[in-house]
Symmetry: C2
Subunit: 117 residues, 2 copies
DNA sequence: TTGACATATGCCGATATCGACATATGATGG
DNA sequence: CCATCATATGTCGATATCGGCATATGTCAA
């Protein structure tokens, strides 16, 4: 009995969580301090329920925290989960930084162009 | 007339392209050199058509190149597109590296724990 | 040309996803 | 308790996504 898995769940995976533009924008906004949902929704130009859902995803992967503050619920950034992504991409640094690989990429650009003539 | 946009197209966006585990594995495999599709498929334990489709996505966002080599079609890494991701996540470095923010996160962990009692 | 091998594409089924909307839950103050 | 404000959740419609499978395209070699 094989249950289908159409795509990796967006929750439970930081890579998927930040694949969404609006969620990335939320994280950027939270860099300057904690905010309630409705304020974030306003700044993103989206409705409150949508913002709540994005925040839920971000919370489930641990990129965001919330604390109650009176009637409000303040969300704050927890950037620690972004570190693995930073390090994973950093593993490819030589493919854009190293002069040999830059030259290599250049040569392949030329080959590509020649092939497409 | 508003056309629906259920989710950002995986093509045309590097963040979405690397949101998929198998595509990330392909990129890692290509770090050690160019490979044909069928070899990648074998190493990933998936069928060739699946690997071809993932490679198509990676090619469309510019993370991968291909060149014809006889009967084969060799795919190679072009890591340059990962740089923006590395830099974007790097913008959050202080949220995991800075001692103040580490302390801050620690305190919030405590508050969280207390709140959930 | 024909056959063999390598790769790409098309279709299907199951499911995830996102925005919009309505509504439920929750907390506060009177 | 009740009204109010803030937030969360549920449902729906449209679409994207992924693996599996069959099949088309492409490339070589004899």
């Amino acid at each position: 009995m094989m249950v289908f898995m159409a795509r990796a769940a967006t929750t439970s995976d930081v890579f998927n969580a930040i694949a969404e533009r609006q969620r990335r924008e939320i994280l950027v906004l939270l860099q300057s301090g904690e905010r309630p949902v409705s304020e974030l929704a306003g700044e993103l130009g989206m409705a409150q329920p949508g913002a709540s859902k994005h925040l839920r995803v971000l919370r489930e992967v641990g990129l965001v925290r919330d604390r109650k503050a009176g009637k409000l619920r303040l969300y704050s950034l927890d950037g620690r989960g972004l570190r693995p992504v930073h390090e994973w991409t950093g593993g490819f640094e030589r493919f854009w930084n190293d002069s040999f690989d830059r030259l290599n990429a250049y040569v392949q650009d030329l080959e590509q162009a020649r092939q497409e003539e």
